[in-house]
């Protein structure tokens, strides 16, 4: 089957029901999306499919068709960061950092549809992503900073 990830087309021979997460990580070597729980409880595996935040551990590759997949690697790079990534750096959000790829992908998709989020909007949108280190206060602040920056851009 064919998958389009971060603008590149890949062909791979895997089961239709293999979760996208494991196709990305073990078949394509794209390791930004993380395995955390396997049951859509933690959000560490979050990617965008046609711009929507999706838990890749629950998304069978056979259901994706020719939709465009974006992972954290495709959102921005260390040299050219997305506004959300830059806000994450500015607020020094990460501790262990393992959940942050998913947090950032969740926040980036959320801000596309909620450019001027209220505090409650942020709490609602970001509460499905677990951070065991407890960086939540900084996540809140970084989402607000990113929203302001994207509005100004």
């Amino acid at each position: 089957m064919e998958l389009s990830v971060n603008g590149t087309s890949y062909s791979l021979d895997v089961e239709e029901d293999m979760p996208l997460l494991w196709a990305l990580r073990d078949e394509l070597g794209i390791t930004g999306p993380k395995y955390g729980c396997g049951i859509a409880q933690c959000g560490a595996c979050t990617v965008h499919i046609d711009g929507q935040a999706v838990r890749s551990c629950q998304m069978p590759v056979g259901d994706i068709g020719n939709a465009e997949i974006t992972t954290i690697e495709g959102l921005g790079t260390p040299e050219a960061m997305h506004a959300v990534q830059q806000a994450w750096v500015d607020h020094q959000v990460a501790q262990c950092g393992y959940c942050q790829s998913g947090q950032i992908m969740q926040a980036a998709a959320f801000l596309e549809t909620h450019p001027e989020p209220s505090d409650e909007d942020i709490d609602r949108a970001m509460s499905s992503n677990l951070c065991r280190c407890g960086t939540y206060p900084r996540i809140r602040a970084a989402v607000k900073t990113a929203a302001a920056k994207l509005q100004g851009a």
């Binding site: 073990d26 729980c37 049951i39 690697e73 994450w88 959000v93 950092g97 065991r132 407890g134």
Partner: protein
């Protein structure tokens, strides 16, 4: 400030009888300096000044031997060296280094002795020398116990200063100028005429001269980095998905493994049928491992699926099968036979308790670690030894454990430590390492990446100790008069050390950690520790013993103060004995505007507890809403002697509070049929963002020693919350998790 030579004796050559009051305790072998691990691999033209700094023509490498499971230890170690070496944070390659006995952890040894962290008396200092010597013999290159900053604070700055001055001496020789006229900046020696010689160009010459060891450390007033907000060296990589964790490493021809181990931990595999699993796509082998089976496949998901498809019959657990039996064992341990020791006995509690007394029983359950990166390791083994890629807090023990499984010498095991996606104590354990080694040994030459599924990780986790406390106290004339605090827990120290082939000598100070040495002068105060017979295996969980004793002590102290009709802050201030703790209490009172009216349906609770030498006071404010308790705000004051990076400090404190509150509210591990009943985050999730209060943090610097902040914010969180809920609702919570007794928003 001291000179490097003095500093060196005091820290990394600690054990010298001449320095610590002439007390040697037969530790001659232990005071021999470790061999420098860098010199062995040096090529011609390279100079190694000490085990922490390496400079070649190609560049500067810093060795930051402490593991980083998220606290920013890697970055902190870099900053300590860079402060004295005069380089920018991004100017050097930073490596975890190869495991080596030279990197033993002085600070962890200091905290391993049963004396209060503030006790600088002769007996305490003597014991620390012994403990530190033992650690050195073992070569414990350990990360844990919030010890990385205290361990490295002097050593790395001294190493940086020594390197800088030796480079200046080399430049002086080359230029003919006196070293006093040379300056250093951004990795270069600068002459009075402005000529800049890069350190890298001086490496070869610096190797030819004796190191300059007699260098004063800089006065804090001169610091460029320490004490100021820094950008963590790992922050860009962690914000762009480009930092590889152990789970992200890939090697040519690597295969992926999953395991299915008896969920009755330590029990046997009695029977199995692997036919179905073996026939599944991508499965290469099903292999026996300790306590169960491993599946080796060409993809992690295929390995997980095949492991689930194994048909297995498990033997019984070597501990009680049902949770009620565990509680019963704890409750039955308050006996003279199970008395571990009487840690404190001020005044005469028994006489004081002949009148009217207040009693209460507190409970703390088993709790899982469950960092978000599941346990994993990559191992390739062959006739020449083994190579290991994983993140671990005890690298030398990794080498030992792998060597034992593979059948080689530990020197034949190469360990590549990796960034860790959270630990909270989980990466002090070895199961994933030894299981991966068992698999790799059966498939020589093939790199095997073993990843625990989340369910396997829950099933095989060694949780926090289970325990109870029984308190009796009395009040008189509006004051707390007496308190007898008895704590019974299983010993996570005994359990954990047992798995490492070590035994605990003497009583387990963790059972009563922070409680026996509480800085309060009551007329009558007794603290006794009781050791519960081993039940389910347990391990160190962020803040270890203090995570339970803090709740037991500060919860009941609040009850006594309430019974006395006193104010929680005023009464603590009246009773506190140590100036540093008093200042923490005064700070929290000021920050939280203690005593002001919060309005109807609201309440605030206070707790102060010391762990790892750090007194932390927290005030939690809650509102009793129709839907349940909402945590509005938390104030935290903590004294670490010196705040190395205020931004990272605030982040770690907030995270510690969230860890403490979240688990106190909703997390426990319970056993049924010998198995942990919780299998994933939906059954033990900790705090989520919508529940997170505002958390205001103040770092104090009155303490005489620099301390770590990873764990100390945890213990006061649960009692401060319980005390706030009492203030708001009149309901006293004496058992975690709290959601069994009250609703939360």
């Amino acid at each position: 400030m001291g000179r490097t030579r003095t500093i060196a004796r005091r820290s990394f050559l600690i054990g010298s009888a001449a320095v610590l009051g002439g007390v040697a305790f037969g530790t001659y072998l232990a005071v021999k300096p470790s061999e420098n691990p860098l010199t062995e691999s040096l090529a011609e033209g390279e100079a190694a000044f000490n085990p922490f700094v390496k400079i070649t023509e190609q560049g500067i490498t810093l060795i930051a031997p402490h593991a980083d499971s998220g606290q920013g230890v890697h970055s902190m170690q870099t900053a300590l060296i860079a402060e004295e070496l005069d380089i920018a944070l991004d100017q050097a390659e930073v490596s975890f280094g190869a495991p080596d006995p030279a990197y033993y952890n002085t600070a962890m040894a200091n905290d391993a002795v049963p004396f209060a962290a503030f006790d600088e008396g002769l007996a305490a200092r003597s014991m620390r020398v012994v403990a530190s010597s033992a650690f050195k013999i073992l070569g414990v290159q350990g990360t844990g116990g919030s010890s990385s900053t205290p361990d490295q604070y002097d050593k790395l700055r001294a190493a940086g200063a020594m390197a800088r001055e030796t480079l200046k001496a080399a430049a002086a020789r080359r230029t003919g100028l006196p070293a006093e006229q040379l300056k250093t900046e951004n990795g270069r020696v600068i002459t009075p005429t402005g000529e800049a010689i890069p350190y890298t160009a001086l490496a070869a010459e610096a190797a030819q001269i004796p190191p300059v060891t007699d260098t004063p450390l800089r006065d804090p007033a001169e610091w460029r980095l320490i004490g100021k907000p820094m950008q963590r060296t790992d922050i860009v990589a962690k914000s762009t998905g480009t930092l590889p964790y152990g789970i992200d490493i890939s090697l040519p021809d690597m295969l992926h493994a999953a395991v299915r181990i008896n969920p009755r931990q330590g029990g046997e595999l009695l029977d199995f049928d692997a036919a179905k699993a073996e026939a599944m796509r991508g499965v290469k082998a099903v292999l026996p491992v300790t306590g169960g089976l491993a599946v080796v496949a060409d993809n992690t998901w295929r390995a997980f699926k095949a492991a689930e498809a194994l048909e297995v019959t498990w033997g019984p657990a070597p501990y009680p099968a049902e949770q009620a039996e565990h509680w019963e064992a704890v409750a039955n341990s308050f006996t003279p036979e199970r008395l571990n020791t009487t840690w404190r006995d001020d005044g005469d509690v028994d006489t004081a308790h002949q009148g009217e007394v207040i009693t209460a029983e507190y409970r703390a359950p088993y709790v899982a670690h469950q960092p978000l990166e599941p346990l994993g390791a990559i191992i390739r083994a062959d006739a020449n030894g083994a190579e290991v890629w994983s993140g671990h807090q005890l690298p030398r023990f990794v080498q030992m454990q792998v060597a034992a499984k593979v059948g080689c010498e530990m020197e034949q095991v190469t360990f590549h430590n990796q960034f860790i996606g959270g630990s909270f104590g989980h990466r002090l354990e070895f199961d994933v390492i030894t299981l991966a080694a068992e698999i790799a040994a059966q498939l020589p030459g093939v790199p095997i990446k073993l990843t625990f599924s989340r369910e396997e990780d829950f099933a095989q986790d060694y949780p926090r100790q289970i325990g109870m406390a029984r308190s009796t106290g009395s009040v008189k004339d509006g004051r707390v008069e007496s308190w007898a605090l008895d704590i019974a827990t299983v010993s996570s120290s005994v359990s954990q050390m047992g798995r490492m082939g070590l035994s605990l000598s003497g009583p387990d100070a963790q059972i009563v950690a922070g409680a026996w040495n509480m800085p309060f002068a009551l007329p009558h105060l007794r603290v006794r520790g009781y050791i519960v017979p081993e039940l389910a295996p347990t391990s160190s969980w962020r803040s270890v013993g203090a995570s339970t004793s803090g709740f037991f002590a500060e919860g009941f102290f609040d009850e006594l103060i309430h019974a006395a009709g006193a104010d929680p802050l005023e009464e603590r201030l009246r009773l506190v004995t140590r100036p540093v703790h008093r200042q923490v209490l005064e700070a929290i009172g000021e920050m939280s505007n203690w005593g002001s009216d919060l309005g109807a349906g609201r309440g605030r609770g206070l707790a102060m507890f010391e762990s790892f030498g750090v007194p932390v006071a927290e005030v939690v404010e809650v509102t009793d809403t129709p839907a349940g308790i909402r945590i509005d705000k938390v104030f935290v004051a903590a004294d670490v002697g010196r705040v190395v990076d205020p931004v990272n400090f605030e982040n770690l404190v907030q995270g510690g509070v969230i860890w403490g509150l979240g688990h106190a509210i909703n997390s426990e591990i319970t056993y049924a049929d010998g198995k942990a009943e919780q299998s994933n985050y939906h059954m033990a999730e900790g705090m989520r963002l919508y529940q997170t209060p505002q958390i205001e943090v103040r770092g104090l610097e009155n303490g005489s020693h620099v301390r770590g902040i990873g764990e100390p914010p945890v213990p006061p969180a649960a009692p401060a919350l319980a005390n706030a809920i009492f203030a708001a609702t009149g309901t006293r919570l004496r058992e975690m998790p709290f959601y069994k007794h009250i609703n939360f928003v």
